[in-house]
């Protein structure tokens, strides 16, 4: 087990190094922070002083090591556009994105898995057909369009839910949460549904096809022959064995959820990291882009690791051959 974790951690290091090299290269070669920071009027001496202060006269490799040290201390530089430390900006926006992403993922799981089980068990019922058709449309509709349609129906026509922002938030330490106020919860509904819908259809289809496959196996036939009640056969035996791919996909989709949060946050003007990032892209604000890139990479590497560990917990068959297969 320990060897497995260590080998996975070792695999993550080159990925993180590559990503930070890309981030640093963006800093080093893209745009000219000096002219951006100095503004219109400056003397040559001021320019040189700033170049020295920022360490831009050092060789590439020295700068890269210094950059890594800064990053490990949590110093991601200063935003060109907002003139504030990037780490501070991101910490401020992080809770909004995490709350949104986790709610969406939870929603997708809680609705997607039962729908998948149902369509797998009763695949010819009319309700299953409805679910499948809806899911096909859900996959083909872009996230932002779903968001706009939801706003049109629930905010503009019906006027039930707010269409932008987070509502009132409560601060717990540095973490601001919208989960504790009525307006915060109300504001969360539409963005979370928008973000979770695609993942929900994905999970539903996955659970369905896995169920169909598992239900054909001998051990299910045997369980039925033993006269076990349907409930135990379906949930105790069948569903449990479909969970490995579901965990993988959900875990890996968590990354996609955070990436697509960029779109959802733009539609709903949700004050999260995605909105910060998209404004950075539109304004070529490199420090924010670089920090976001590294943060996302760290997140993905961590998620992949957790998914691998969960595998191990869920599927005993993997435990024996695990070390052999981990170095593929």
């Amino acid at each position: 087990m320990l060897a497995f974790i260590v080998s996975r951690l070792l695999q993550a290091i080159p990925v993180m190094l590559t990503v930070s090299l890309i981030s640093f290269a963006m800093f080093a070669y893209v745009g000219d922070p000096v002219t951006i920071m100095l503004g219109q009027d400056y003397t040559e001496a001021q320019r040189e002083a700033l170049v020295r202060e920022l360490g831009l006269d050092q060789p590439f490799f020295v700068q890269f090591v210094e950059f890594l040290q800064n990053v490990l201390r949590g110093d991601f530089g200063i935003s060109y556009r907002l003139g504030r430390p990037v780490a501070e900006l991101i910490l401020e926006r992080l809770p909004a994105t995490i709350e949104l992403a986790l709610t969406a993922a939870l929603l997708a799981l809680l609705i997607g898995v039962p729908m998948g089980v149902y369509t797998g068990l009763y695949r010819n019922s009319w309700l299953s057909r409805v679910f499948l058709t809806v899911s096909l449309i859900g996959v083909s509709l872009p996230t932002f369009l779903i968001g706009i349609l939801l706003i049109l129906v629930f905010a503009v026509i019906l006027g039930w839910l707010p269409s932008f922002g987070r509502g009132e938030t409560v601060a717990i330490g540095w973490w601001t949460t919208g989960l504790l106020t009525a307006s915060g919860l109300k504001a969360l509904i539409l963005p979370a549904v928008t973000l979770g819908l695609y993942q929900m259809t994905l999970i539903m289809r996955l659970v369905r096809s896995e169920m169909l496959e598992v239900l054909r196996t001998d051990y299910i036939k045997f369980a039925r022959a033993r006269g076990l009640p349907d409930r135990i056969v379906h949930f105790g035996h069948a569903l449990k064995n479909t969970l490995v791919p579901v965990i993988t996909i959900t875990g890996l989709q968590l990354g996609a959820i955070i990436a697509f949060a960029i779109v959802t946050e733009t539609v709903f003007q949700w004050p999260g990291m995605g909105l910060l990032f998209i404004q950075a892209v539109a304004n070529a604000d490199i420090p924010i882009m670089a920090a976001y890139l590294m943060l996302i990479a760290l997140l993905f590497v961590t998620i992949n690791l957790i998914v691998d560990l969960l595998y191990y917990a869920v599927d005993p068959r993997l435990r024996s051959g695990l070390i052999a297969s981990s170095d593929r």
Binding site: M26, V156, G255, V263, I278, A282
Partner: protein
């Protein structure tokens, strides 16, 4: 004699398994018809569209915010209504779909070229080259494509001066989307190249002293292209969506050449004042287009998969 050749080729198409499985499914036929209709009307937008939405001389601000024809206040000239600048929504959709499809096709073509080349080299060379290339593919696959496209676009935006960037924005977008999407092509081609390279005809080519480049290009490539076309169809839907998403986020095509995504973004501002048609119609067009392309791709994948026959 040669006059009969095209006719004979046509009957040969109708005789294939592919055509048979095509006619079996009404959904597939319908989506093919819709896709063909949308692609051709978009391609011929300047001749099909009732107005030229970019000809400032014909625009009249007094026509702005005209609702669709079946609503009160509709105008017979504007079937689906007009936007804030008095442009005919139907025409902007046709012109917009043209840009969306252009970006979609080109970026898939770019992704295909890049992915097939990398896959060929990795599969044929093997060893360290293969390991390095596939490791890069793994890292790339760790991130969602849309994020990579955004990053590439952001970096290019930072490197180029603004005015130059506006001029070549479409090509930047094609590069960004194509670049974010080469891995599926590379993986597939690598796999089949590894199988092909041990076959006798490749050995024979090597024995007569052909260069590796020549062997890859004219001997291996034709034999690994089949699955590539399926992936390309499946990726087209993705590319169109990616373009729309980026344009919606405001980092895609410049507003002077609005694609469907840009139109939806523009219309989004008027949702609250009740002018829903400016957003909803481009949105419907986009969704229909992607849905029909995706259905076609799914069918093609299943029809060409020997395991499912």
């Amino acid at each position: 004699m040669s006059a009969f050749a095209p006719a004979r080729r046509l009957t040969r198409i109708f005789d294939t398994d592919l055509w048979w499985s095509f006619t079996r499914s009404p959904t597939v036929v319908a989506s093919a018809l819709i896709a063909v209709a949308m692609i051709s009307s978009a391609a011929f937008a300047p001749w099909v569209a009732p107005h030229n939405p970019f000809d400032l001389a014909t625009l009249n601000l007094l026509d702005a915010f005209t609702p669709p024809i079946w609503l009160e206040g509709g105008d017979a000239r504007f079937l689906l209504g007009t936007d804030d600048q008095g442009r005919d929504v139907l025409s902007t959709i046709l012109y917009g779909a043209r840009i969306s499809l252009f970006v979609g096709f080109c970026s898939v073509l770019f992704a295909m070229t890049l992915g097939v080349s990398i896959g060929l080299v990795a599969g044929y060379a093997g060893g360290t080259v293969d390991a390095v290339l596939m490791r890069i593919a793994d890292i790339k696959l760790t991130f969602p494509a849309i994020l990579i496209a955004l990053l590439v676009d952001g970096i290019v935006r930072a490197v180029l001066p603004r005015e130059l960037h506006d001029r070549i924005a479409i090509w930047v977008l094609i590069f960004a989307i194509g670049f974010s999407n080469w891995v599926p092509f590379a993986r597939t081609v690598r796999g089949s190249t590894m199988v092909e390279k041990n076959k006798e005809y490749v050995m024979a080519a090597r024995v007569i002293g052909l260069s590796p480049a020549r062997i890859m290009w004219s001997h291996v490539l034709p034999n690994v292209l089949g699955p590539v076309l399926v992936i390309a169809t499946l990726q087209l839907g993705f590319a169109i969506l990616a373009e729309a998403t980026l344009s919606f986020l405001g980092v895609g095509v410049p507003p002077t050449q609005p694609s469907l995504g840009t139109l939806i973004r523009i219309g989004n501002d008027f949702l609250f004042s009740g002018e829903w048609w400016i957003t909803v119609f481009p949105g419907t067009a986009l969704a229909t287009m992607v849905l029909s392309v995706n259905l076609l791709g799914d069918w093609l994948r299943d029809a060409l998969n020997p395991k499912l026959r």
